[in-house]
């Protein structure tokens, strides 16, 4: 497209971009700013955007709440383990389906890819029964293990591995390298981009999950951050300043993650290759 624009037109497009950015980010900005307002100010009429005094009390109180700190810590720990485990499990299977030939491959492929089409709600109730029969209720494992194998992510990584050139792999095979060595030394190091994309997806899925933790965890030591926020609302629904400060802090890790890895994410959409 023609990009030789006249100055006023360019100014107009900058203006439009600014309007879009402000609108898109408004709810988040509003949440963060409201966290700085005192109890009398947070829902005041007449309406006022910025607080009279930037008040740190809400943020301080939230950060001093041991339940909040514990929820952030345990959720972060769980999310990191979950992300790493997902990458290991899904990338191994992806490599095998993309690069190896083995008996019954077609059948195992169907087994591994069909779950992509099963909606979570259809199996939510029986998943609960299954994990309780396995004695997993109220453990860190019940939050992590059931979601680790993800067909969509495996599919995504497999597409990537299918497109990798096979020359190096064949040379390594002739040199006597095992498939494991090829996978770990050649494929994994070249997977940084796709690993970041699916890794972030895993991290977000874990960090943002709410219904599953509510069902399977009642031990306060294991309370997840979204669970914490939601109970906060029903128990102390009127302390909006506190709630906004807590929500801001809870959303912060995910937003930081996007800002750090933005380049990979935006390219990841293209990697996903919609044809």
């Amino acid at each position: 497209m023609n990009r030789q624009w006249y100055a006023p037109r360019r100014l107009l497009s900058y203006l439009l971009a600014a309007v879009i950015a402000v609108t898109a980010l408004f709810p988040l900005a509003w949440m963060a700013i409201s966290g700085f307002k005192g109890q009398t100010e947070v829902l005041r009429s007449p309406f006022q955007f910025f607080p009279d005094v930037w008040n740190l009390d809400n943020y301080r109180a939230i950060l001093e709440d041991p339940a909040f700190v514990r929820a952030m810590g345990i959720t972060f720990l769980g999310a990191v383990i979950f992300t790493v485990a997902s990458l290991v499990v899904n990338s191994m299977a992806a490599y095998a389906f993309a690069r190896l030939d083995f008996a019954g491959k077609g059948l195992w492929w169907v087994v591994c890819i069909t779950p992509m089409f099963v909606p979570a709600m259809a199996i939510l109730l029986t998943s609960f029964v299954v994990v309780s029969k396995l004695g997993m209720l109220d453990t860190l494992a019940v939050l992590i293990v059931p979601g680790v194998a993800a067909s969509a992510q495996m599919f995504f990584l497999r597409q990537f591995y299918l497109n990798m050139p096979s020359a190096v792999e064949e040379a390594a095979l002739i040199d006597g390298a095992t498939r494991w060595q090829i996978f770990l030394r050649i494929f994994v190091p070249q997977s940084l981009g796709p690993f970041v994309v699916v890794g972030i997806a895993s991290f977000l899925a874990y960090w943002n999950s709410y219904v599953w933790p509510v069902l399977v965890v009642s031990n306060p030591d294991l309370t997840q951050i979204m669970q914490y926020l939601a109970t906060f609302r029903s128990a102390r629904g009127n302390e909006w300043g506190m709630l906004m400060a807590g929500s801001t802090l809870a959303a912060l890790p995910t937003i930081v993650l996007v800002l750090v890895f933005q380049r990979y994410i935006v390219n990841g959409v293209r990697l996903a290759g919609l044809k």
Binding site: M1, S13, L16, A17, I20, A21, A24, L25, P27, L28, W30, S34, L43, S45, F47, M92, A93, A96, L100, D101, F102, K105, G106, L107, W108, V110, V111, C112, P115, F117, V118, P119, M121, A122, I123, L125, T126, V129, V130, V131, V145, G147, V148, A149, S166, T178, R179, F183, N208, Y210, V211, A230, R233, M244, T254, L259, Q262, R263, V269, L274
Partner: protein
């Protein structure tokens, strides 16, 4: 891990036999090698099985087993007080004759009709706009529109409940237009649209990026010749962009409808289905009937969940048929 291995074995086998989607064969693309048959020495059965084992075992336990189990249980009446009793299709009949089930489906559909078209139009406009920007501005805008997508539904729900307060931003805005405050989430007519707004906000970013990727793949020459013919922006959008993005739009439409109709975290946190069930989406209805603890609630709600699974599949197929039957300029 060992504990899981043992119990998984039978389920994994059961799947092989019962798996309904028999679309295996044609997946075996092998890159450069032309021949289908790999020499025996290149086969790697042992390694391959070890590599897929964790995936197969985990999916077997946490997806396949629960799914098969759900179908099995839907034929039984389960109660805390006595042994499960085989009742055949009774629960299917209960669900299918329950007006609340249909009401929730209708609400889910209305919700999807509010969210999906808004997201698609917004994404198309934003993507068209971002495509005209300089590289650096485009990168900034892409990140900006993506940020809301990573916020959890719980946080989004909390923010918007706050915005909808009597003294909140939404009412301040309405007040500027000279109207009185509205109890957004407590009024039957406004509750569902009020829940749809955060859904749109959470969803438009990813759709925009996907559409943008599609737009950038359209050859510039299409637009240049259209400009030579004197086509304005709207005509170019109507006759070039939209037809070229047909597959992308179809994808976003199908995934959008199927995901939106299943939304329940937003209404769960914002309204819990109220007022008067106005925001009781199908999954929320199922979730609440499961929690409700009345006898047979378990059988009832899991049967409803399976039926919804079927309904959603059917809707996806209908949408797919309708859109793909339309004429398009670019195959």
């Amino acid at each position: 891990m060992t504990m899981i291995d043992v119990s998984a074995q039978p389920t994994a086998h059961a799947t092989e036999v019962t798996d309904p989607r028999g679309t295996s064969g044609q997946r075996r693309r092998r890159g450069v090698r032309g021949s289908e048959q790999t020499p025996r020495h290149l086969r790697a059965n042992r390694t391959a099985y070890l590599m897929i084992a964790p995936m197969v075992v985990l999916l077997g336990i946490f997806v396949v087993w629960p799914l098969v189990y759900a179908f099995y249980l839907s034929f039984f009446e389960i109660s805390f007080y006595k042994d499960a009793e085989f009742v055949g299709l009774d629960f299917y009949q209960y669900v299918l004759t329950d007006p609340e089930f249909y009401e929730s489906l209708w609400i889910g559909l209305k919700f999807a009709l509010m969210v999906v078209p808004a997201v698609l139009v917004l994404a198309l406009m934003l993507a068209s706009f971002i495509a005209t920007l300089s590289k650096r501005m485009a990168a900034f805008m892409k990140t900006t529109v993506y940020v809301p997508a990573v916020v959890s539904s719980v946080v989004a729900a909390i923010i918007f409940v706050f915005i909808y307060q009597d003294e909140g931003v939404a009412n301040w805005f309405v007040g500027m237009l000279g109207k009185g405050p509205i109890a957004w989430l407590n009024t039957e007519g406004s509750a569902l649209p009020a829940v749809a707004i955060p859904a749109i906000w959470l969803g438009f970013g990813v759709s925009t990026l996907i559409m943008l990727a599609g737009i950038l793949d359209i050859p510039d020459s299409y637009y240049e010749s259209a400009k030579l013919d004197g086509a304005n922006f709207w005509q170019r959008t109507r006759f070039i962009t939209i037809p070229s993005l047909r597959n992308v739009i179809l994808y976003l439409l199908v995934t959008g409808v199927t995901l939106t109709i299943q939304e329940f975290q937003l209404p769960l946190v914002m309204t819990n289905g109220g007022p008067v069930n106005a925001t009781n989406t199908p999954n929320l209805y199922i979730f609440n009937s499961f929690r409700d603890g009345t006898p047979y609630a378990t059988s009832y709600s899991l049967t409803a969940a399976l039926l919804l699974f079927i309904v959603i599949g059917t809707i996806s197929i209908i949408i797919f048929r309708v859109v793909s039957s339309e004429k398009s300029s670019d195959a």
